[in-house]
C-alpha cells in the first residue's frame, strides 16, 4: 500500500523538481508560448506547500482537492485550471482514503486526465500536457494488467509520460497559445507535457520505492 506520507513525499519531490526546472520550463514556453510556464508552476506549487500542513491529517481526497483549488487560484493562465482540474478530479477518485493501491492510483490518474480533457478539449497529438498524461495512464494500465507491482507500474507510467513528452517535439500545436504559431510550433517540446512528465517521474521515484 502507498501511504499518505508517501503521497506527501511525492508532492514534495514534485515541488523541488519544479523549482529546479523553473527556468528550463520557462525556456520551453518562450519558444512556443509566452515564457511563463516555469514561473506559473513554481508559484503554484510554492503555494501548495504552504497550504499542505493545514490538510496533512485529512484523507487523500481532501488533500488533492485542496491542491487543485490552490493551483486554480494561484497559477492563472491555461496551466492553472488544467492542473487544478487534474488534482481535483484525482482527489474525487481518492475520496475517504488515507492509503491506496496501485489500482487506486491509476484510477486517480485516469480521472485527472479525463478532467483535463474535458476542460481543455484536447486529445492526444495536439502538443499539450495530454500527450504526456495519456500515455502515462495507458502504460500503467498495461503494466498492471500484466501483473506488474506498484514500482513497475509507476516506472512504466513515468517512461510512458516521458516518451509522450518527447513525441510532442515534431507535433504541430493545435491547442493553446502555441497554436498561433502554426508550423513554427514544430520542433519544440511542449512545456506542459514536460511538467507533466516530471509529475509521473517523481511518482515513480518516490512511490515506487515506498514499500
Amino acid at each position: 500500500m502507498v501511504t499518505r506520507d508517501d503521497i506527501l513525499a511525492w508532492l514534495k519531490c514534485y515541488r523541488q523538481t519544479l523549482a529546479e526546472n523553473k527556468d528550463y520550463l520557462t525556456r520551453l514556453d518562450s519558444a512556443i508560448g509566452d515564457a511563463d510556464h516555469g514561473a506559473n508552476m513554481d508559484r503554484g506549487f510554492a503555494a501548495v506547500m504552504d497550504k499542505l500542513p493545514s490538510v496533512a491529517e485529512k484523507d487523500l481526497g481532501s488533500i488533492f482537492k485542496t491542491i487543485g483549488m490552490t493551483l486554480v487560484s494561484t497559477v492563472g493562465g491555461a496551466g492553472g485550471p488544467l492542473y487544478g482540474t487534474w488534482f481535483m478530479r484525482a482527489g474525487m477518485a481518492l475520496d475517504g482514503k488515507t492509503e491506496v493501491t496501485s489500482a487506486d492510483l491509476l484510477a486517480a490518474f485516469q480521472a485527472g486526465l479525463a478532467g483535463v480533457q474535458q476542460r481543455g478539449k484536447a486529445t492526444t497529438g495536439e502538443k499539450t500536457m495530454v500527450d504526456a498524461m495519456s500515455p502515462a495512464c495507458a502504460a500503467m494500465q498495461a503494466s498492471l494488467t500484466e501483473g506488474g507491482d506498484t514500482a513497475t507500474a509507476l516506472a512504466a507510467a513515468a517512461a510512458g509520460a516521458e516518451q509522450g513528452m518527447r513525441e510532442t517535439i515534431p507535433m504541430l500545436a493545435t491547442k493553446g497559445r502555441a497554436s498561433y504559431l502554426g508550423e513554427r510550433s514544430i520542433g519544440h517540446q511542449d512545456p506542459g507535457a514536460t511538467s507533466s512528465a516530471m509529475l509521473f517521474r517523481c511518482a515513480a521515484d518516490v512511490l515506487g520505492r515506498a514499500q
Binding site: A35, G77, G80
Partner: protein, 333 residues
C-alpha cells in the same frame, strides 16, 4: 529594461493602488482576490458585467469600470489570465439579482479560468452568461488554432453592453447584443517595436529598426507577416483592407471606427492613421458614423496601432451614444 516601476513583482499591485486613489469616486479596488468594482455595486435589478484579463493593456479593463460600462474587472499578472477566485468574487460583488455577463477575450487561459468561475458562480445560484470576443482577423479561424484572438472589439462590446445593461435589458438580451457586436466587429494590429514584460526583463520579441510586424497580438504574439517598415498610409491600408474584406464591410454600411494605440505611439501618429482610414472607408462606400482614436487596449510600451471596424445599426449607435463615466472613457455626463 528602463521602466517607471519600483519592483517588477509589485507592478500590478501598485498600479491598482494608484487607480484606487485616483478614481475613488468611481471605483473601489479589492485586493486578495484582486478586482476593480464600481463604487455603487451591486446595482439592484441591473445586469452586472464583468470582464478581465492579463494586466498591461490599460486602460482595458479596469479603466472601463463605472457607469455605463463594466461593473467589475479582474486584472491578472502582466499578460497572464486572472484566476477563477477573482472572477467569482467580482461576480458576486456585482450581482444585483438580474444575472451577470462575463465578457471574455479568446485566449485559452482566459477561457478556462472564466469557465471555472462561471461554474462556481452558478453553483452559488448566480445566473451567468459568457460571451467570447474573437475579432482579430490576423489569425486564421480554423480547427487548427485556438481560434481568433480577442482584441479591439472588446472595448466596443464593453461600452455597448454597459449601456444596454444600464437601460434595463435582461441578461439574455445583453448577452445577445454582445454576440452581435462580436459578429460585426473586426480588428487587426501592427507593431513598430516590441514590449518588455516587467518580470521577464527582456523584450518579448526582437524587431529590427527597419522592420514591422503586421497582425501582431496584444501580447506580442506573432502576426501574419514581418516586413520592411512602410509609410503610415501604406500601413493603414495593410490593416484596413483585411479588416474590410473579412466581414466583409460593404458599400452603404455604417461603422464605428477605432484607431487604437498600442501604448508607445503618440496621438499625433494615430490621427495620421485615422485620416487614411477615413479615406479608405470613403472609397469603399463605408460611412464612419462614430469614431474613437486613442490608447484603449494597449500592449505595455509597444509602439504600433490597431484598427477596429464595427458595423453599426441604430441599436448599436444608440447604445454607443449613451452616457458613460469611467476612468478610461467618458462622455454624456
Amino acid at each position: 529594461m528602463k521602466k517607471l516601476i519600483n519592483n517588477p513583482a509589485d507592478v500590478v499591485k501598485e498600479e491598482l493602488q494608484g487607480v484606487a486613489l485616483a478614481h475613488g469616486d468611481q471605483v473601489r479596488v479589492h485586493f486578495d482576490p484582486a478586482y476593480v468594482v464600481r463604487v455603487d455595486a451591486p446595482v439592484v435589478g441591473k445586469v452586472g458585467i464583468v470582464s478581465g484579463g492579463g494586466s498591461g493593456h490599460e486602460p482595458m479593463h479596469g479603466g472601463f469600470v463605472g457607469y455605463g460600462m463594466l461593473d467589475a474587472a479582474c486584472p491578472g499578472a502582466v499578460f497572464t489570465s486572472p484566476t477563477p477566485d477573482q472572477m467569482l468574487e467580482a461576480t458576486k460583488a456585482v450581482d444585483g439579482g438580474a444575472g451577470v455577463l462575463h465578457i471574455v477575450k479568446n485566449y485559452t487561459g482566459d477561457i478556462l479560468n472564466f469557465e471555472m468561475a462561471a461554474e462556481l458562480a452558478m453553483a452559488e445560484g448566480i445566473e451567468v452568461e459568457s460571451v467570447v470576443i474573437d475579432d482579430d482577423v490576423a489569425v486564421q479561424n480554423s480547427l487548427w488554432t485556438a481560434g481568433r484572438r480577442g482584441v479591439g472589439a472588446t472595448v466596443l462590446a464593453e461600452k455597448i453592453c454597459g449601456a444596454a445593461a444600464e437601460a434595463g435589458k435582461s441578461l439574455k438580451e445583453v448577452a445577445e447584443l454582445c454576440r452581435k457586436v462580436n459578429g460585426w466587429g473586426r480588428s487587426m494590429g501592427m507593431a513598430l517595436t516590441s514590449c518588455t514584460v516587467p518580470h521577464a526583463g527582456q523584450p518579448t520579441f526582437e524587431l529590427p529598426e527597419d522592420e514591422m510586424e503586421i497582425g501582431i497580438g496584444i501580447h506580442g504574439e506573432p502576426g501574419r507577416t514581418r516586413m520592411a517598415l512602410k509609410s503610415a498610409d501604406e500601413i493603414t491600408e495593410l490593416l484596413a483592407l483585411p479588416v474590410i474584406q473579412d466581414l466583409p464591410f460593404e458599400k452603404g454600411d455604417r461603422v464605428i471606427a477605432m484607431v487604437n494605440g498600442m501604448g508607445g505611439t503618440p496621438l499625433i501618429e494615430l490621427y495620421i492613421v485615422y485620416r487614411k482610414l477615413a479615406e479608405i472607408c470613403e472609397a469603399h462606400g463605408i460611412t464612419i458614423a462614430r469614431s474613437l482614436v486613442g490608447n484603449y487596449i494597449t500592449s505595455l510600451e509597444m509602439a504600433g496601432c490597431s484598427i477596429t471596424l464595427l458595423k453599426a445599426d441604430d441599436e448599436l449607435l444608440g447604445y454607443w451614444d449613451a452616457p458613460v463615466k469611467t476612468p478610461g472613457l467618458r462622455w454624456g455626463m
